[in-house]
Symmetry: C2
Subunit: 114 residues, 2 copies
DNA sequence: TACTGGTACATAGTATCGCTGAGTAGTGAA
DNA sequence: TTCACTACTCAGCGATACTATGTACCAGTA
């Protein structure tokens, strides 16, 4: 997919992860595989963990440590009130951007047909 | 709009500018005002000029210097073949991302209604 | 003349964020 | 013991947008 997606994920990946956490707490490794399942095959593990540290420090999630049947204990993240607000703000920002870009996309196509 | 949009623009602003240039060459100052008109009110002039330098160095645009009636000469940028290809790649990447995020958005709304 | 404001471009320094690459550790199966 | 999967951590890097500032040209006006 090239390098474009890397830059495009900046600012959106956080929202994507917050959205994944809506209603269903999850731990880092689980989130990574969820992302891979959804088509983001190239997202590095390290990226996800770093992001989780960030949103925890921003106070957007609550963390609970739980033992795992296999492997080290898990850190389970769940969206709190502040995280929910941040997610809503994310959707507003995303919609703003997406609307304008889609508009450019359609006018581009019309130009192209001339 | 906060800082979310700043991060979200990374990777998309270049595509936005390339799209603006489709079929109609433009110069930096003009592009800045175009962006402002389209709702991107907070984009700094410096950001646009830096981006234009970048896409010129990448060879995505052709540049022509033209005198202005008012003020210093303008640098008029026009999309070339390579730029057009880059823009097409941008649309593919954007569609990939937008589809997945919109899907998350809809499932989020459904979750929220429960 | 001096000043203001609009036009037009440029750039040094900073912060953010995702990626690379490597490492640590626990578990179970071959 | 070796491998593979699970699970988390971290140092260093590169790309990009923002801040702040500067240069320069022109027109109107007090």
């Amino acid at each position: 997919m090239g390098k474009q997606i890397t830059e495009m994920l900046k600012g959106t990946l956080e929202g994507i992860v917050l959205a994944l956490l809506t209603g269903k707490p999850a731990y880092g490794y689980e989130i990574t595989t969820l992302l891979r399942d959804q088509g983001f095959t190239d997202i590095a593990e390290g990226t996800v963990y770093a992001l989780l540290v960030r949103i925890e420090q921003k106070g957007l999630v609550d963390v609970e440590k739980r033992p795992s049947e296999k492997g080290p204990p898990r850190k389970v993240y769940s969206l709190n009130t502040q995280g929910t607000q941040e997610l809503e703000e994310f959707w507003r920002t995303w919609s703003f951007l997406a609307e304008r870009i889609e508009q450019l996309h359609s006018t581009d196509r019309i130009e192209g047909e001339k």
